[in-house]
Amino acid sequence: MSPTLPAEISTAGESAVRVTGRTGDRERDWRLVHQLARRFTRAEVPGFTVAIPTYESVLLEFDAALTGHEEIIALIAETVPALDLDAPLHEDPRHFRVPVLYGGEGGPDLERVAEITGLSAEEVIAAHCAPTYTVRCLGAPGGSPMLDGPALPVAIPRLASPRTHVPQGAVSLAGRQATITPAAAPGGWCVIGRTPLTVLDLDAEPLVPYRPGDTLRFEPASAREVERLAGGRLTPEEAR
């Protein structure tokens, strides 16, 4: 491995390698891992099976009967220097607006987040609605849009004891991250609200409408708006 490679490579069992971006810039780290994942997926590398790119790292899994750490790491070392870390993930990023009913039954941890941060619930909502988020990756469960968290004074700890059921549409925070839950699952993140829009559609291709590199914003919605929007699908805004 070249000592100048802007990435750290570690093994994760005999069938996987993790590559973490070390460019000194988060955006470039993120583009590095997604571009690397794309290269591996498109090149049909023998024995390579799955790439899971996230914020600053990518897990590359392979069939150890067909290839091994040495071969995969050599290919990473050869591929990384050829990546253009300033190129956007998509030429045509799409934008989504996500209406959210904050607090109450659908947002049981809003007050908790307010307490942890020393803000009022309104200030937490305002902070959550302020940024235009970039979808960093698709995660668990069911293709969640994994986002950078809003600007809050402290990182939000995960719940000590995860909930056994977080419903579809839950809008949540943990650490310096934020997301929407497309499918009901157990979860330890702080749920601050709920969107009435359906995110995951098993009959659609792709299953979720956003890709890493697309952007989205949250907007407060009233109970009446939520009722009106219930069952609708999250769709991108018309290109302007």
């Binding site: 570690s10 093994t11 994760a12 069992g13 005999e14 069938s15 996987a16 993790r18 994942a37 997926t41 099976t49 799955v50 790439a51 899971i52 790119p53 996230t54 914020y55 600053e56 790292s57 990518v58 897990l59 899994e61 069939d63 150890a64 009967a65 091994g68 750490h69 990756c137 698709l138 995660g139 668990a140 469960p141 069911g142 293709g143 969640s144 994994m146 990182a155 700890p157 995960r158 000590a160 004891s161 943990a174 650490g175 310096r176 991250q177 497309p182 499918a183 009901a184 699952a185 995951l200 098993l202 792709p206 299953l207 979720v208």
Partner: protein, 333 residues
């Protein structure tokens, strides 16, 4: 050539395959057969591609009747296999005539039995795989009185010489009884467990009933302790990741695991030992054994060689009976 299986009895039986490799990049878990060796072997024994859909039954009995002649094979957990009341061996191709009743009963060791049918079965796919995904609600549990369409387009190689152990197919079924031995290589965050990581290898652990295809929980007298408390940013976690969530148990992620998570990974169970974990029962004792990646890799290659050798012997057996058609050439699926 159409046909179908009429299911008489089923509970916790699903149609699955080797997993959804296109899933993880979209945030969906891999899923698929938890004992990949047994699933692959079942398909090979009936001349299918290793990745063809097949039935995975967990713990409970299964009974069905095909409406045309079909070759089947049952592997994995130990059960009694009967065709119209006559006992037949597992880990062998078994010919079933149209209208005969197939019963798999009394699982006595292991957790999951695989039943492959020559030509496979017709089921919906999501991102190229029929493997159930309980989180997004994809997949279909078999139930009594339903029909499962057969997908095969060629007649099954039927011969009275199959199913009587005439051919030594030389397969080595996994050992399912007693203490399970599970190999683990060091994980990327082993240092976050300070000096406690070695506790994993010191004493046996016991499989908790709160274990499933997403993850297995195991308790023991001395569980490693996570010494770091920092919040980790979500990243891809490998199947087989050994984690220590809050509480007194280990969590080992299996094929249904969420693809991203924020817990440090102490170790990673080897691919071949993941099959072992796919067969352990609640209450069963597990001993973890520390291995290096080189050892793990040579184990996977031995596993691969055994399956390839089985494929060759099955092909030879079928052609010696005059069936050159209907056998899928060496495809690993």
């Amino acid at each position: 050539m159409t046909g179908r299986l009429t299911i008489h009895e089923a509970s916790l039986a699903m149609v699955t395959d080797l997993g959804r490799t296109r899933g993880p990049q979209f945030g969906l878990p891999l899923n698929g057969a938890l004992d990949q060796y047994s699933a692959r072997a079942a398909n090979i024994l009936v001349g299918n591609a290793e990745g063809d859909p097949l039935i995975e039954l967990t713990l409970f009995d299964l009974a069905f009747t095909p409406d045309r002649d079909v070759l089947i094979a049952a592997t994995g957990a130990e059960m009694t296999l009967e065709v119209d009341g006559a006992p037949l061996p597992q880990w062998e191709p078994v010919p079933v005539r149209a209208g005969q009743r197939v019963e798999l009963r009394g699982m006595s060791a292991g957790m999951r039995c695989y039943v492959a049918v020559h030509g496979s079965v017709e089921v919906p796919h999501l991102l190229g795989s029929c493997a159930p995904d309980t989180v997004v609600g994809f997949g279909h549990a078999l139930s009594a009185d339903e029909h499962l369409e057969l997908a095969g387009t060629t007649p099954s190689p039927m011969s009275p010489y199959l199913g009587i152990s005439l051919f030594n197919l030389g397969i080595c079924p996994p050992c399912l009884d007693g203490t399970a031995v599970v190999d683990v290589v060091d994980g990327p965050e082993i240092e976050e467990f300070g000096g406690t990581a070695h506790r994993l290898f010191r004493r046996p652990f016991e499989v908790s009933p709160r274990s499933n295809h997403i993850g297995l929980r195991l308790g023991g007298p001395e569980v490693p302790v996570r010494t770091s408390t920092e919040e980790k940013i979500s990243r891809g976690v490998p199947v087989g990741a050994v984690e220590v969530p809050p509480g007194d148990e280990l969590l080992i992620l299996h094929r249904g695991r969420g693809v991203t998570a924020g817990y440090p990974v102490l170790g990673v169970v080897t691919s071949t030992s993941l099959d072992t974990l796919g067969q352990v029962r609640p209450g069963q004792s597990v001993v973890f054994r520390h291995v290096d990646a080189t050892q793990a890799r040579s184990d996977v290659r031995a596993w691969r060689k055994a399956l390839d050798a089985l494929r060759n012997r099955v092909t030879t057996a079928f052609s010696s009976l005059g069936f050159d058609d209907g056998v899928t050439p060496n495809q690993r699926g």
